[in-house]
């Protein structure tokens, strides 16, 4: 290099230029990737030709020939594969929503209890979190399911207060039966929630401007609970419960929840609850002690400190990992396949075995779960943007 002029074109100089090197490297990467994908596609079409299969989503219109016992929409074995997948997707969403609600309640409770000043309570919550987090979820799912299916037969069902019956075919509980008039009560309830929202907003604004407190809790309670209950009594209680009654062979009345749904829901709740508890604990600990002390100095009670000072700030830390826990729960609901709860993956697996269209089925799985996860991260970004600290 020393004998050459310092300027002017030279292959060596070109190679030491970072941008040129980067461009060459990227070009080679793209080439390699294309070659790799082409290799896969070529192999796949070869292999499929060998076993005489054609790719395409046409098979979704074929008759399914299998039954699904847990369904939210009408479905029989004469329906199509496409509709079966729809039933599966709805089942995935059903158990996910149920699990998310229950796991959030359990997780927040346990997270707060872990920070309790009561030594015994804090220890018990810790034992729960540490035990559950270190045992595989699949093991827990199978465990609960086995326990539920080892329950007594229908004739010897365990009854809880004569209303709810546990047996090896699941849980049977009273079903609410609406009579005419109940719709008005439901509407009143929903209207109460909306009204309560506006009352709270108005009360907060008034307090900000004038400093006058307003008993919004009692007013809201009246709007959301009081008014519908009064209406319910006024209309002559237009609702009764269809209580299950044990017949010769089976129960009549009420509605049945399958052991698969109960086991999966319960396992997902307990498992995700432990993770949410840790998230909540971390979030509360992340709020600096000065905030608590300042609140106490202002004379706020401990409950009010938690509600008005600590939790709102902790939520900023809690929500992003919480949403990813929700996403995990939704993904984990696919473990249903191990116990035969017919979710998207389970139904897809059956179709895959029957029709052999593995690429298309896996493609559908990927599309559904990816769109769920993209939706979740979109929400997370929106929330982060909304609650970010506004600094000068």
């Amino acid at each position: 290099m020393t004998g050459k002029p310092r300027h002017g074109p030279s292959l060596g100089r070109l190679w030491t230029d970072e941008r040129v090197r980067g461009a060459i490297f990227q070009f080679l990467t793209v080439l390699g990737l294309i070659a790799f994908v082409w290799f896969l596609v070529a192999n796949t079409s070869d292999n499929m030709a060998q076993i005489g299969m054609k790719a395409g989503f046409g098979f979704l219109g074929d008759q399914a020939f299998f039954d699904i016992n847990q369904k939210l929409i009408d479905y029989t074995s004469t329906d199509t594969y496409g509709r079966a997948l729809m039933v599966g997707l709805l089942n995935t969403l059903l158990v996910s929503v149920l699990g998310i609600v229950a796991a959030t309640l359990l997780g927040f409770l346990m997270g707060v209890l872990r920070l309790s000043h009561n030594w015994l309570v804090a220890r018990l919550a810790t034992v729960y979190v540490e035990t559950i987090r270190n045992i595989p979820l699949l093991l827990q799912v199978v465990f609960w399911w086995t326990l539920l299916t080892e329950l007594p037969r229908v004739q010897e069902s365990k009854s809880i207060a004569g209303l709810v019956f546990l047996n090896n075919r699941g849980v049977r509980m009273p079903a609410p039966v609406m009579e005419p008039g109940m719709g008005i009560v439901v509407v009143a309830f929903l209207a109460g929630i909306v009204a309560a929202f506006f009352v709270t907003r108005w009360a907060t604004r008034r307090r900000m401007e004038t400093g006058q407190p307003f008993p919004s809790i009692w007013v809201n309670l009246g709007l959301v609970v009081g008014a519908p209950v009064a209406l319910f009594l006024l209309l002559g209680q237009p609702l009764h419960w269809d209580v299950p009654v044990l017949g010769t062979f089976n129960f009549s009345g009420g509605f049945r929840v399958t052991p698969e749904l109960v086991a999966l829901w319960w396992a997902l709740t307990v498992y995700t609850g432990a993770f949410i508890a840790e998230t909540v604990r971390g979030g509360i600990l992340a709020v600096s002690k000065g905030q608590t002390e300042a609140a106490q100095a202002l004379g706020l009670s401990r409950g009010a400190t938690m509600r008005k000072i600590v939790l709102p700030q902790a939520l900023r830390v809690i929500v992003p990992p919480l949403t990813s826990q929700y996403l995990n729960l939704t993904k984990n609901s696919s473990l249903a396949v191990a116990i035969g709860y017919q979710d998207l993956v389970s139904v897809g697996g059956t179709i895959l075995n029957q029709s052999g269209h593995s690429i298309e089925i896996v493609g559908i799985w990927l599309a559904v779960y990816l769109s769920l996860s993209v939706g979740t991260s979109a929400f997370m970004n929106w929330y982060n943007h909304r609650v970010r600290l506004v600094e000068r």
């Binding site: 796949t44 979820l137 093991l139 465990f143 593995s358 996860s373």
Partner: protein, 369 residues
Amino acid sequence: MTETVFHRSKADLLPERPPPPGTAGAVGWVRENLFSSWTNSALTILSLYLLWLVVPGVFGWAFLDAGFAGTDRTACEGAGACWAWVDQRIGQFLYGFYPREQTWRVDLALLLLVPAAAPILFDKLPFGRKALWFSLAYPFLAVLILLGGFGLEEVPTDKFGGFMLNITIGLAGIIVSLPFGILLALGRRSQMPVLRLICIGFIEAFRGIPLVTFMFTAALLLPLFLPSHFNWDLVLRVIVVVTFYAAAYIAEVIRGGLQAIPRGQYEAAQALGLGYWQSMRLVILPQALKISIPGIVNTFIALFKDTTLVIVIGLFDILNIGNQMVANPDWLGLGLETYVFISVFFFVICFSMSRYSMHLERRLDTTRR
């Protein structure tokens, strides 16, 4: 005005008085921590009641009323657990279908893991850094011991099973996913847009989709993607997807660590004339990995727990062996024992891993002096 000076000697001081009754010692502790207020007392009593409901029952079931010896169902007619049965089948739980006379090889591989892992996990050991060469050689050695060849009887992977299969998949996944995850994290933060896009796509795809679907992919699709004469081992395919899956999570954890490193560190490394790989290796990654340790270990724990998912494609890991036994008509109604027994294995390993990560965090915390 004369200034009054007070002199005090020790003798003038009042003698120390004991603390008010009930604020110190055991009674004080109980008052402070269990009965400090009405709600607190109520919580304590409720907890004690729960413990009283659960603990004696569980203890009696697991130990007092349990049957420990025997060869069939009649061995445990009591109300307690039937460990006799677990005792009968322990070989299958641990080794699956690995030939009985060859199981010493599994034990040996596990035993060799101790000297291989020790220099990585703990410092201040004899031989210092030289011991790391053994750690590096261990994976190859373990594969050789387990699969056989070179005079040892060959054992195909479809004989792998039981807890040994979980450990094999978990360990292989852990060993490979860390370096792979680091590369993915670096790629995601690369200046080169193409490379960055590929890494983002890879990470998001693997993080957004349940592992169960990847298990099906490993079992059904991977053979379809490759030339038909290329016969690929199922356990190996599972290890590949599990590794990819864990690497995507590890990449995100490490990306968080990389983002937490102040710009000044990157600039200082450049100012010292270090190239990209040098500055990463000597300046950035040591700091970023240190921050990421809890997340990385959590990913490893998740990976190890996820090895049970192989049951959906019909491999016989410890959980699947348990499932088969629960269905065995000779030993009906032993689900509880089986799953509690299996849980203990996972709990011990995962709990130790999380404790170790806490220990490591404290050891590497250089900010506190």
